[in-house]
């Protein structure tokens, strides 16, 4: 019995919730086409993914095979509103293999749990019964709702999680989301018992890795006390990414935000207090393009001459630094163009708490509050 029409995980077999483990076991033991093949169940962690809708879950579900190829896990893909008024949670199960070698196959367990809109709060109960003990649990909050504003559902789902991954890309109300994040990070990562810990990670922060490296390299010959203006351009939905880049820079140079203003959908601007005086920060959105940072311009002095550092995402996988007003050759660094699945896969294995991220989010919070004041 195979429900190839399952919109989220094609081939997943619908089963009553109490039969999920049995069905996983059955599928794992089912005969394979290649009788010589050694089939191995692999799982490094529990990966709980929450999506608000079937459409969102379908998009995430398409990434799951690539995620588990990088980081084998038992995947529990939750759908908060499956568009029905069902009073029970529906489960569908798939054991998916991928080749490890000529006669070796690694299998991963994937379960979809979907709830009607009225019973979303019952999903955490289903999750508890399906977690595998002794393996780390990761929660991927794949909802556009910022985690700090998500309410009790996220807290219940994160009950046993050691890592909460979220993506600030496309947050519908960035200022409120960013304003709440630093405080939320503090609360969600704090435990009273020494044996327990949890980290929260923003996928956008991971995406910024190469941008941060680029900015650090670009500023190497620059006296930061000469910077007067920093502007970031970004595509649709990438405002928080740009924001995190600026807050990171402000953290590094230890400037204090003084005031901010927003032109909805177009631009955000702040005034920072630096030793040399006021520094203007701006984030400007472009109408078209991919949801990522397009470029950054930094006005400063090099060798007592005013210059503009122009940092550009020139093409896929390539970031360029140009020093306008000088004859210097452009410098480039490679920035691997990671798919969402690769970003997730890397983040799953990286459980270090990044103090720079937390500091940056505190500055970002101050920036948000200045806009909301």
């Amino acid at each position: 019995m195979s429900d190839t029409a399952n919109p989220i995980l094609p081939g997943a077999v619908p089963v009553p919730l109490e039969d999920v483990e049995r069905e996983l076991s059955r599928q794992l033991k089912a005969p394979r086409d290649d009788k010589r093949e050694v089939v191995q169940l692999v799982r490094m962690s529990n990966l709980v993914i929450y999506c608000d809708t079937v459409e969102a879950a379908r998009q995430v579900g398409a990434q799951v095979p690539d995620v588990v190829a990088v980081h084998p896990a038992r995947v529990l893909l939750l759908v908060g509103d499956n568009g029905t008024s069902a009073t029970t949670i529906h489960a569908a199960v798939r054991v998916q293999g991928h080749k490890l070698g000529e006669h070796q196959q690694a299998c991963s367990e994937q379960v979809v749990l979907s709830a009607g809109a009225g019973i979303t709060d019952r999903l955490p109960f289903a999750v508890r019964s399906l977690l595998i003990g002794d393996l780390p649990t990761n929660l991927w909050w794949a909802s556009p709702q910022p985690p700090p504003l998500a309410g009790s559902l996220l807290y219940d789902l994160a009950e046993h999680a050691q890592q909460i991954m979220y993506d600030s890309l496309g947050w519908p109300d960035p200022a409120h989301g960013v304003a709440a994040t630093a405080t939320w990070l503090e609360s969600v990562e704090r435990f009273h018992d020494a044996d327990r810990w949890r980290v929260a990670s923003d996928l956008n922060w991971r995406r910024l890795k190469y941008w941060r490296r680029l900015v650090a390299q670009a500023l190497e010959p620059v006296d930061v006390a000469t910077i007067t203006e920093v502007a970031v351009g970004h595509g649709p939905h990438a405002v928080v990414q740009a924001w995190e880049l600026l807050s990171w820079l402000a953290t590094r140079v230890r400037w204090q935000v003084q005031a901010g203003k927003v032109q909805p959908g177009v631009e955000m601007a702040w005034r920072f207090l630096a030793p040399q005086g006021d520094v203007r920060f701006r984030i400007r959105r472009t109408e078209q393009g991919p949801p990522e940072i397009k470029g950054m311009r930094i006005r400063c002095m090099v060798d007592d001459k005013p210059v503009t550092l122009d940092l550009i995402s020139e093409s896929a996988g390539k970031l360029v630094i140009r020093l306008e007003g000088t004859a210097a050759e452009p410098r480039t660094i490679l920035s691997p163009d990671l798919s969402l699945a690769e970003v997730i896969g890397k983040q799953l294995s990286d459980r270090e708490r990044d103090p720079v991220f937390r500091e940056s989010m505190q500055v970002a919070q101050a920036m948000a509050k200045s806009l909301l004041a």
Binding site: R122, F125, A126, S129, L131, L135, D193, W197, R353
Partner: protein
């Protein structure tokens, strides 16, 4: 004369020809467990060549009225085997097995019924060439055991314990009493007709492969026993989690389809699970190495653990024991009622009239968590955390040995993200096996440590493991009491439990800590372990 056994080798005892007499032969335990277990033993060729089963008691179902008793028990057995047997019913084996099934209807308090039973057993002996050996299995409520024992003794149906030709043994099911005094009374009652070496107090948990494997793991491998002490072990967690509540309901009509409330209400999880199963498992985990595999040597070692359990004062009970009761919640995607609601509906069905919800104020605990200590050299100040409950998120029982953390240097230098400790887990159910969590470097240029879990499942041996009852029934036939509770062990377990029960009695709490069905117990239980800087394991 038995074949000599080389020194150090476990005695291999063979099941001896006998009749298994099941008191309450058509009852629930017999139907679900005992008859399917005997069938599986038959199918696997483990039964003695001369063997039969005789059920005894008043028929408990309508089907048993006005029909041939032997045909009745055969139908009942077939039904139980088809539903609950580990191995599917095979018609060829069934025909062979059914021939050896008999039933004697009669009341446990009626002396004439015992005469009929005696006559039937004599006839069965003749038919199957059995030398008069008997196993009396009391699959009846505890209050009926006394009548059974008394009449068996008076009817001359219990042979001398030294009889080499025809043995008589009895199997007593838990609960052995509901407190220390009543446990002593049950022991005294059985003692009136049966000697200690004829008495097999069964705890089916001890028949599980993993529990038996605890001894093999510890004493047949060189790497574990040197670490099995306070120097290397941080703490031990023993969990018996059950998904089911005390009542099951028809999803269509909402009516109760099965219930253990009649037994459980007023008994609670401490008596039902901790006093027997969990303390027995604790003993296997914590006992000193026995000098032989002789039943009494092992039972001595287990009893020593019970004697070393640190007794609690009422104030210490409050600090170290948490009880709880489930309230409405969610299990398997379905809304399920709380315990008090189940109790109310159960008694409404019994009384056949409505009972106001506010009049049901049961304080029976459906969840217990205990922090206990074994005051001996090996386990000095190592906490053992025991946790059992109904309506938890999943059915899972395990013993987890958590080793001490590595020093906070090298790979464990980051206090924000400490390494997960090494844990050895023995899984008792649903799937028996063991696993070990260790730290490993992830592939790649950076040194990143990640926990990995090495697993062994009994299923990997290929054949399905025998049910616990199969192993234990076979042991009774063979006269091997290793996995059965000796009277001093039962008493010592009650002596440990009594201060807790007494404390609760005096406390008279009407409202216990509550937990939602489908969660891992009340928050008070989390605090119990968190105040030690530890946490309950995710199962």
């Amino acid at each position: 004369m038995p074949l000599p056994t080389p020194p150090g080798v476990a005695k291999s005892l063979l099941p001896q020809p006998c009749v298994l007499v099941i008191f309450g032969g058509d009852g629930d335990l017999s139907w679900r467990k005992l008859l399917p277990a005997v069938y599986n033993l038959n199918k696997d060729g483990d039964l003695p060549s001369h063997f039969a089963v005789v059920g005894f008691g008043l028929p408990s179902t309508k089907e048993g009225e006005g029909v041939d008793p032997d045909e009745y028990i055969r139908q009942r057995a077939r039904d139980g085997i088809e539903r609950f047997s580990r191995q599917a019913l095979d018609d060829a084996h069934w025909a062979d097995f059914a021939r050896s099934l008999f039933y004697v209807p009669g009341s446990f308090g009626d002396a004439r019924a015992y005469q009929q039973l005696k006559n039937k057993l004599a006839a069965v002996d003749g038919q199957f060439g059995i030398p008069g050996s008997r196993i009396y299995y009391f699959a009846v409520p505890p209050q009926l055991v006394e009548a059974c024992v008394k009449h068996l003794g008076e009817s001359g149906m219990v042979n001398d314990p030294k009889d080499q030709v025809a043995f008589t043994r009895c199997v007593v099911e838990k609960p052995i009493g509901r407190d220390l005094d009543s446990a002593r009374e049950v022991i005294r009652i059985v003692d009136q007709a049966f000697a200690e070496n004829q008495t097999y107090r069964i705890d089916h948990y001890l028949g599980k492969e993993t529990v038996q494997n605890l001894l093999v793991l510890r004493f047949a491998n060189s790497i574990f026993e040197p670490l099995w002490n306070a120097k290397y072990i941080d703490h031990v967690q023993i969990t018996v989690a059950e998904e089911e509540g005390l009542a099951q309901f028809d999803s269509e009509t909402g009516k109760i389809t099965a219930s253990r409330i009649g037994y459980f209400e007023g008994i609670g999880g401490l008596r039902d699970m901790v006093q027997n199963h969990m303390l027995q498992v604790l003993c296997m985990c914590a006992m000193e190495p026995p000098h032989s595999l002789d039943a009494d040597v092992i039972r001595d070692a287990k009893a020593n653990v019970l004697h070393c359990l640190r007794r609690m004062t009422p104030a210490e009970v409050k600090q170290n024991v948490v009880r709880g009761q489930y309230i409405e919640g969610d299990v398997n995607g379905q809304r399920v009622p709380g315990y008090r609601n189940e109790v109310r509906r159960f008694f409404e069905e019994v009384a056949k009239k409505p009972i106001p919800a506010e009049s049901v104020n049961s304080s029976t605990e459906t969840f217990v968590a205990i922090r206990l200590f074994i005051d001996n050299w090996r386990w000095s100040n190592v906490p053992f955390y025991l946790r059992t409950g109904k309506r938890l998120p999943k059915r899972a029982s395990e013993v987890a040995i958590q080793f001490k953390d590595v020093p906070q240097v090298l790979f464990n230098a980051n206090p924000d993200v400490p390494l997960e400790p090494t844990v050895l887990t023995l899984k008792v159910q649903p799937e028996e096996g063991m696993s070990m969590r260790i730290a490993s470097k992830l592939p790649g240029p950076k040194v990143r440590i990640y926990p990995v879990k090495m697993e062994f499942s009994y299923a990997s041996f290929g054949a399905t493991s025998p049910e616990a009852y199969e192993r234990l029934i076979l042991d009774v036939m063979a006269g091997d009491a290793t996995l059965f509770m000796r009277r001093d062990g039962v008493v010592a377990a009650w002596e440990y439990i009594m201060p807790i029960l007494d404390s609760w009695t005096h406390e008279r709490a009407l409202h216990l800590p509550e937990y939602q069905c489908g969660t891992w117990g009340p928050v008070e239980a989390d605090r119990l372990i968190q105040e030690d800087g530890r946490q309950w394991r995710t199962l």
